[in-house]
C-alpha cells in the first residue's frame, strides 16, 4: 500500500494524490491531488491516524483521500476539546513508543491495533470513522450509493425497480406505479 501513497509532508496539511485506480472518485474531483488543512495535528499524527483508520475499517481499494476525512474530523474534535486532543496525541505517542509505527509491516501494525481495540483512543477513532468515512460524496461514489435523490426527482423514473436478475412480482404483490 505504501508505494501507492504519495504524501507531501507539509506541516498542518494532510495531502496526497488520488490513486489511479480510484476512477469513481476521480470523476468527482477537480484534480488528482488533494489536501486538507489541519489545525492541531502534526504530520506524524495525521499520517498515523489515517493508517490506523485503514486498519479499523479496511477497504483495500478505497482511496486515502476518503480516509483523510476521518483525520480531518478528529482534528476538528481536537481543536474543540482539549481532552480529545490529549487522548489522540497520547495514543499516537504510545503507538510510536517502540519506534516508527508507520514503518512496521501491515501485519505488525495490525497486531498492535488489536491490542488497543476497545480502549478509549481506539474507540474515539472508530466511532468517528464509522460516520466520517462513510457519509461523504467520495465514499458514496466508491461504494455505489447515490446519496440525496430529491433534487433528481427520486427514483420513480430512475431505477427504483430496475433489477432484471429476478422475476418481477405479480401486480397484486407489487402494483405498477400510478401515472401522475
Amino acid at each position: 500500500m505504501a508505494t501507492r501513497r504519495d504524501f507531501l509532508r507539509a506541516s498542518g496539511t494532510l495531502s496526497g494524490v488520488l490513486w489511479l485506480s480510484s476512477s469513481a472518485i476521480s470523476s468527482l474531483a477537480p484534480s488528482r491531488s488533494w489536501a486538507l488543512e489541519l489545525g492541531v495535528f502534526n504530520d506524524l499524527q495525521s499520517r498515523t491516524l489515517l493508517q490506523l483508520t485503514r486498519h479499523i475499517f479496511p477497504h483495500d481499494t478505497l482511496d486515502d483521500a476518503v480516509y483523510a476525512f476521518v483525520v480531518k474530523d478528529l482534528d476538528t474534535a481536537s481543536a474543540g476539546d482539549q481532552a480529545v486532543a490529549k487522548l489522540l496525541s497520547d495514543g499516537v505517542t504510545e503507538l510510536h513508543s517502540g519506534g516508527d509505527w508507520l514503518t512496521l509491516s501491515t501485519a505488525q501494525q495490525f497486531a498492535s491495533v488489536e491490542k488497543i481495540a476497545g480502549g478509549a483512543f481506539f474507540e474515539k477513532i472508530r466511532s468517528t470513522a464509522v460516520v466520517s468515512l462513510y457519509n461523504n460524496e467520495l465514499a458514496f461514489a466508491h461504494f455505489g450509493y447515490e446519496g440525496s435523490s430529491f433534487e433528481k426527482g427520486g427514483y420513480l423514473n430512475r431505477g427504483f425497480n430496475d433489477i432484471t436478475w429476478l422475476p418481477d412480482p405479480p401486480p397484486e404483490a407489487s402494483p405498477s406505479p400510478e401515472l401522475n
Binding site: 486498519h55 479499523i56 475499517f57 479496511p58 477497504h59 481495540a117 472508530r126 464509522v130 460516520v131 468515512l133 462513510y134 457519509n135 465514499a139 458514496f140 461504494f143 455505489g144 450509493y145 447515490e146 446519496g147 440525496s148 435523490s149 430529491f150 426527482g153 427520486g154 427514483y155 420513480l156 430512475r158 431505477g159 427504483f160 425497480n161 430496475d162 433489477i163 436478475w165 429476478l166 422475476p167 418481477d168 412480482p169 397484486e172 404483490a173 407489487s174 402494483p175 405498477s176 406505479p177 400510478e178 401522475n180
Partner: protein, 522 residues
Amino acid sequence: MAAFAHDDNSVVVVIGSGAGGGTLANELCQRGVDVVVLEAGGHESIASFVNDEVAAFKQLGWLDHRTSSGSWRIAKDFPNLPAMICKTVGGSTAHWAGVSLRLREHELSARSIYGDIDGANMLDWPLSIGELAAFYDRAEEKMGVTRTHDIPGLPGNNNFKVFYNAAKQVGYRSANTGRMAINSRPRSGRAACQQLGFCMQGCKMGAKWSTLYTEIPAAQATGRLDLRESCHATRIEHDNSGKVTGVIYFDANGEEQRQLARIVCVAGNAIETPRLLLLSESSKYPDGLANSSGEVGQNYQRHTSGSVFATFDEPVHMYRGTSMAGIVTEESGHHPGRGFAGGYQLQSIGFGLALTAGFINPGGWGRSTTRAIDEYANMAGLWIVGEDMPRTSNRVTLNTNEKDQWGIPVANVHYDDHANDIAMRAHGYRQGRAMYEAIGAKNVFEAPPFPSSHNMGTCRMSERPLFGVVNKWGQSHDIANLFISDGSQFTTSGAGNPTLTIVALAIRQAEWIGLEMNRRSI
C-alpha cells in the same frame, strides 16, 4: 392560530405533537375544544428536510441525554441512545417508515391466549377488536393507508423484488408491498411517493403521513390550537384534591413557564411520558403521578427485532425507493410449536451507506465488518419486528446521577431480553437467512436490534387499577383529568408497528374526552 393565556384554565394541554399528541390535538380542536400543544422540538418542514442520514438524525432526532442498562445489546452498542425517536414538531411521525398494521385478536388477549409466562407481566388489553375496528378504519382513512379504502398498494422497489422472490422460495405466500401510510397517488392535498428512499429522514415529498403537515395545520385552521414549539415540559402540577392543574415547562428562550389546564394529555413517547410522571412527584403522590399501581415506567417494550442483510452477485441498490417496502405475515400468528409465544413480521428494509455502516455490526471493526460494506450496492435487507414480553424489571426510571440540559434527572432505560424474545429473534434470523440463501445470497449478515423506534407499555392500559396506569380510554386510574395519549398506553406490544394503533387510540380518546367534557365529568 390561537394564543391562550397562561392562566386560562379552560384549555386542554397536550404534551407532544407526534402520532398520539398531534392527532389528539386535531381531533379535539375539530370538536371545538381549545388546545395548547407543548412540543419540545422545533419546527421543520418538507422544505427543510434533508436527504442525508446523518444530517437528518441531527435535525430531527431526540438527542437529549439518556442512559441505558440491562443485558440488551443496545446498552453496549448505543448506551446513550436507547431509542431513535424524534424531537421536532410532528414527533416521530417525521421518522417512521409508514407501516400501518392493526393489532389482532390474539395480541389484544395475550394473557388469555398465551397463558402466564415466567418472567413476564402478561395482561389482556381492556379493549376488544370490535371496540377498535371503527377507529382503525378512521385512522386508515385519515392517514391514507394503502390497500385500505380502495387506495392502491405502492409499487415495490428492488429491495422488495429480492424480498418477494426470497419469500416465495421458502414457501411464504403473503409477501406484498403492505399497508403503508404513503400516498401511492396524490391524496388529501399531498403528493404521491416518488421513491426518494429517505422515508426515515422526513419525507420531502410529503407523501408519507406525518402530523407535521396533516393534523397540526388542520388543527391550526380551526383557530383553536396554540402550538408552542421548543417548549419542554418538566412537571405536571396538581391541587389538593389531586386533580392536575397545569404544566411547568421551559419555553424557547429557556424561561420557565406555567400553563394552567382543565385536562392534561401526555404524549411524549414511552420514555419521556413516564419520565414526566415520575418527575412530577409530590407529597401527595410521592411515587409520581398516576402511579398508585407502581407500574409507571414498567413493562417497557420495544419489539423483538433484528435485521438480516444479504449480498448477491448482482446489484440491488436497496436505498432506492421506500425504506420499508414489503411485508411477510406468515410468522405473525401465535404458534407456540416454534418455541415462543406471539409472532413477528418480516419487513424489507433499506438503508443508505451511513446507516448501513453504523448498524450492520455496531461496535465492530476489521474485515468482518467492512466486507459487508464493500458489497453495499449488491445488498438487500429485511427487519424482524415481533411481540416482546412486558416485564416489571424492563423499565424507565429517573437516573438521578445524570442531568439533562435543564438540570433534570435523565431517563434510564433498562431492558433484559426475555427468553421468549431471544427464541423469537433466533427464529427470525433463521427464516431471513433461509429466504436469502434460497435465491443465491453470497453472504448473509445478522444485525442486532437498532436503537428502539417502537417504544411501548410504560403507562399501560388495564381493566383494574392495580395492574396498570390508565383505563381503556387512556384516562389515568388515579387522576380523572390526566390522560396518556401515546404508545405508553399499550398493554402488550403485539407484533405490528405501533403508529396506526396510536392514531386509532387518539381518535377514540378525543371523542371520549369531548363527550366527558360536555357532561362536565372532567
